[in-house]
C-alpha cells in the first residue's frame, strides 16, 4: 500500500471508506476543511496497483488519517488532533494505521510546531486502544462521558511529540554544521530558548477565521 499525503481529489473515496468503516461520519465539506486548513497533516493509504475498471478510476483508499491543529487550544499549547483514523478491515495487520500516524505527527511538528497530539477513542475499541497506547505510545488522559452520539464514553489520549522535536533539532543542527554557520532552523532549531517557556506561549491560530460553521459539523462532538 502506498502512503502519501491526502489530496482534495481523494476526498470522495476517503468519505466512502469512512462511511464503510466507522459510525462517525462527516460531510465532504468537513474533509475539505481539513485538507485546506492543514494540508500537510492528513495522509492516505492507497492501493495503487489495483486494476482500473474505467479510465476515470480514482486511487482506491484503504486507509486514512484525518488530522488537524487545535484552532483555539484551551491550554494555550499548540497541538494537533486526530479527527478520524481508519483502515479497511481487508487491509489490517500491515501496520498502515501506525505508518499514517507517524507521517502525520512528523508534519504536525515540522509545519505547525505541535507540542503534542490528542485523540478520542471509544472505550470499547480494544484494537485501537492497543495501537495508540502500545504501538504509538499515547497516554490515557481522561475519560469523557457519553462522548459519542450513541452514548458511549471516550478515552481522551495524548502523545508528547518532544521525541520528534528533538530528532528534527538534531538533524537540523547536523545539517547546519555541514553546510553553513549553524543558524537555527525554524522553531525547533532554537536551542537557546528554554523549551518550557515556548510551551506556554499562547497561540493565535485560526482566530476569528469564521470556521465555526464548519466546526459545528463535527458529528462526533454531539453528545
Amino acid at each position: 500500500m502506498d502512503i502519501r499525503r491526502l489530496e482534495p481529489r481523494d476526498i470522495p473515496l476517503i468519505q466512502h471508506a469512512n462511511l464503510e468503516n466507522l459510525p462517525e461520519n462527516y460531510f465532504m465539506k468537513y474533509y475539505l476543511y481539513h485538507a485546506l486548513s492543514w494540508p500537510q497533516l492528513s495522509y492516505v493509504a492507497v492501493d495503487v496497483s489495483r486494476p482500473k475498471k474505467t479510465p476515470y478510476d480514482y486511487p482506491k483508499i484503504v486507509g486514512y488519517v484525518l488530522a488537524k491543529m487545535e484552532e483555539e487550544p484551551t491550554d494555550g499549547v499548540q497541538h494537533g488532533h486526530i479527527t478520524s483514523l481508519s483502515v479497511m478491515r481487508t487491509h489490517r495487520r500491515l501496520g498502515i494505521a501506525e505508518k499514517l500516524m507517524r507521517q502525520s505527527q512528523l508534519a504536525m511538528v515540522e509545519t505547525f510546531g505541535a507540542q503534542y497530539v490528542s485523540l478520542h477513542v471509544r472505550v470499547s475499541n480494544k484494537a485501537a486502544i492497543h495501537l495508540y497506547t502500545k504501538t504509538l505510545g499515547f497516554d490515557q488522559d481522561k475519560t469523557e462521558a457519553s462522548y459519542y452520539a450513541d452514548g458511549e464514553d471516550a478515552f481522551s489520549m495524548r502523545l508528547d511529540l518532544s521525541v520528534i522535536r528533538n530528532q528534527i533539532r538534531d538533524a537540523a543542527a547536523a545539517e547546519s554544521g555541514d553546510e553553513d554557520e549553524g543558524e537555527p532552523v525554524g522553531e525547533a532549531g532554537s536551542k537557546a530558548l528554554p523549551v518550557r517557556e515556548k510551551d506556554l506561549k499562547k497561540v493565535k491560530v485560526g482566530r476569528g477565521l469564521g470556521v465555526q460553521a464548519l466546526v459545528e459539523k463535527d458529528e462526533s462532538k454531539h453528545s
Binding site: P8, N21, R93, G95, G186, E187, H222
Partner: protein, 841 residues
Amino acid sequence: MPQPLSAKENSLFRQVIRNYEDKQYKRGLKAAEQILKKNPKHGDTMAMKALIINSTGKTDEAFALAKEALTADMKSHICWHVYGLLYRHQKNFEEAIKAYKFALKLEPGSPQIQRDLAFLQIQMRDYQGYIQSRTAMLQAKSQLRQNWTALAVAHHLAGDLAQAEKVLTTYEESLKSPPSHTDYENSEALMYKNSIIAETGDYQRALDHLESIAKHNLDRLAVLELRAEYLAKLGRKQEAAKAYRALLERNPEHSEYYNKLTEVLGLNDDDGTARKAIYDEYVKKNPRCDAAKRLPLTFLAGNNFREAAKTYLSLMLDKGVPSTFANLKHLYSDPFKKQTLESLALEYVKERESQSGGEANTEGELKGTPAGLYYLAQHYNYSLSRDLTKALEYVDKGLKLVPENVEFYMTKARIWKHHGNTRKAAEIMDQARNLDLKDRYINTKSAKYQLRNNETAKALKTMALFTRSDSSAGPLAELIDMQSIWYLTEDGEASVRNGLIGLALKRFHSVYNIFDVWQEDQFDFHSFSLRKGQIRAYVDMILWEDKLREHPFYTRAALGAVAAYLGIHDSKLATNAINGSANGTEEDDAEKKKALKKARKEAQKAEREAAEHAAKQDPNKPKAATSDNAKRDDDPLGLKLASTDQPLVEATKFLLPILQFSPKNIDGQVAGFEVYIRREKYLLALRCLNAALAIDATNPVVHEQAVRFRKELSSKLASLHPKVAEVINTEFTAIPSSTDLKKYNTEFLKQHKDSASHVVSAVKIQKLLGEDQKTCEKALFDILKLKSDDWEPAAEALGLLFQWRSSEAEAFKKAAEDTWPEVTLFQPPPSPPNATKPAES
C-alpha cells in the same frame, strides 16, 4: 426617488441592519415595519425587510418585496445588494453577479459588495471578472498580504503565470523586514510562487528559487519532493538520487520514490538484480516496511520472481496479513506469476499442514495454514484464476480450522455472488455480520449484498444499526445527509430491478444533488483559504472541483438515471402506439402495483419507527418532530419524478456531465447515443456512436447502435437539412449506406458465434430487421450451448424474451437454470417471507 428619513428613523434603520446581522429577525422585522409605517416607499428599508423575510424561509415573498424596493429606489446600492444576496441564496449565481455589479456601480467604494462579487466570480470561474475585482480590492487595501496572493491566484487560474509571479514578487519586495520563520502564510506564499515558476517549465529557475527559500520553509516534505523532482528533470542524476533517498528515509512506503530513484540511477528495466538491490537496502533499514519487500515482485521474472514471491508469501501468511491476496492480485495479469503464486500457496499450505500434523494451532487466528487456505480461496475466486468449486473447498477447509472467522465467511459470500446466487450470498454475508456486530465494515458489506439481492427494506434495517439513532428523520434521511453515495446508488439500482422506477430515480437524483452540494461546498473556501494562507491546497481543490463530475460515483448513478428515463420514454411510446398489444399486460400492471404498495408501506413504516424512536429518545422534545415535518419529503416514492412529461430532457441533464468529463467511458457514449437518437439529434447521436467505436469497435452494443443508426437514416436522411445530411454522410463511415444490413448482421453473427453477448446483440438486430420471432428465439436458445461461466448474456436474453412476450420465456428460464443452477435470477421466486425471516426483531 428615495425618501429621506428622520434622524430617529435613521437610527432605527441602523438597528434593522444590526438585528439582521445578529439574526434577531423578529426584532428587525418590527423595526423595519415601524419605519415603513411613516415611509411606506422607503426602498432601503423594504430591501432589508425582504432580506429578513428571506432568512425566515419565505423566499418568494422576499423576492416580490425586493423587486418592489427596487421600483421604489432604483438608485440604491442597498436595494441592488439585497437583490444580489437573494439570488445568491437561491444559488442563482449568474443573476446575483448582475445585481452586485449594479450595486457596485452605485457604490464603487463598498468593500463588502466588492468582496461578495469577487467570490461569486471565482465560483463561476469568471477569471477576467475576478482579476478586476481582486485588483480593486488590492488597491483598496494593499497592506494585506492575502490581497496580493489572491490577485496572483486570479492570474494563475486565468493562465497568466508571469503576471501571477510578478504580483507575488512585488509584495515580497515591499517587505521592509523578513517575516518570522514561523509565519506560515509567508512560508506557503513562497512555496506557491515556486509552484508557479515550475509550471512555466523553467526547472532551473524553480530549483534556484526553491533553494533560496528551502531552509526555513515549514512544508519540509514539499521542499524535499520538489527538489528531487527538479533535479531529476534537470538531469542532475546523482543529486536527484540523493534527494529521493532522503525521501525514502522519511517514508519508505511510497512507491513513486523507488521508481524515480531507479530511474535517476539509470538502471535498466530488465536489470532485476540491480533494481532489487535498492529495495533490499530499505528492507534492511526498515524491517517492517511492506513496499520494499513487495514492489520488486512487479519487475522480477523467472526464478528470481519465484524466490522473492516465496519469501514474501511465507512472511505474510505466517504473520496472518489478510490483505496478502489483495496486495498481489495485480500480478495475475502475468500468467507465469499467477501460476507461480498458486503453486507457492499450495506448497505453503502443504508444508504447514505437515508440520502441524493437520491440526492448526493458531487459536482461531488467520495465521499459517488458515491464512494459506484463505489465500487460495481468494485465488480461485478471482476473475483471472476463477474456479468457484475449488474456492468453496478452501473456504470450507479453512472454516474447519477457524470456525468463527469473518474473513472466510466474507469470501464465501463473494463466491456465491460470482455464481450469480445473490440470495445465498446475502445470507452468508449476514452470517458474517453476526459474527462481529460491532464492526461497521462487515455491516456495510451485508447491507450491500442485501441490496444486490433486491432486499431494499432489509438492507435499510441493516444500515440503521450504525446510523445515528438520535435523529428523528430516520436512517434513510441520515444516509442522504451523510452523503452515502454508495448506498443511494445500490438502492437505486435495486429499485430498478424491483420495477420501482420512481424510487430509483429518487435515489439517483439524491446522488445528483450531492454532487451539486459538493460543487457549492467550495464557495466558503474562496475567502477562508486566503485567510488561512494555504494557497496550493486551495488551487488543487479548485482544479479538482472543475472536473468534479468526472468521478465514477457520478457516472454510475447518472447512467442509472439515464436508463430509467429512457425506459419511461419508451413505455410511453408503447402506450401511445396504435398497436395496443405493446401495452403492459394486466398481469404486469398488477405486479407493479403490488410492488409499489409494498414500497409505500415500507416507507411509512420506516417513518413511523423513526418517529417513535426519536420520541423514546427524548419525550420532552415534541417540537423537533414538527420542525422535521416542515421539510418532509412530499414525494418519498419518486412518483412525481417518474411521471415526468420530459423524460428525455431529464435524461440529458444526467448525461451531459458524463459526456463532458468522462468521454472515454464507453457506457456513457452508448447511453448518449440512446438519448440523442430518441431526440432525433442525429449529429449528436453520431458523435457518441463514433466515440464508442473509437473506444471499442468490437463492443456488441455498439454494433447494434451502428446498424440501428444506418436503418434510421434510410428513412430520415431525406428529411434532414442538406448540410446536416452531408455531415452525417461523411462522418458515418462504419456502415456504408449501400450496405445490406441483414447480410451485414449475419456476417457479424457468424464472426462472433462463440460470444453470447455478441449473439444476443445480433439477434436483437435480426428481430429489428424483420426476422421471424421463432427464428430469433431459437438463436437465443443457442447461447445456452456455449458452456460459458458467464451467465449474464443469458439474463439479457431472458429479458428480451419477456419483452417480446414470447411463449418460450419460461422454457428458456428453466433451461438457463439447468445450465447455471446457482443463478438466483433463473430460479423460481423464493417461498413466502416467513420461511426466511431475519434473525433480529
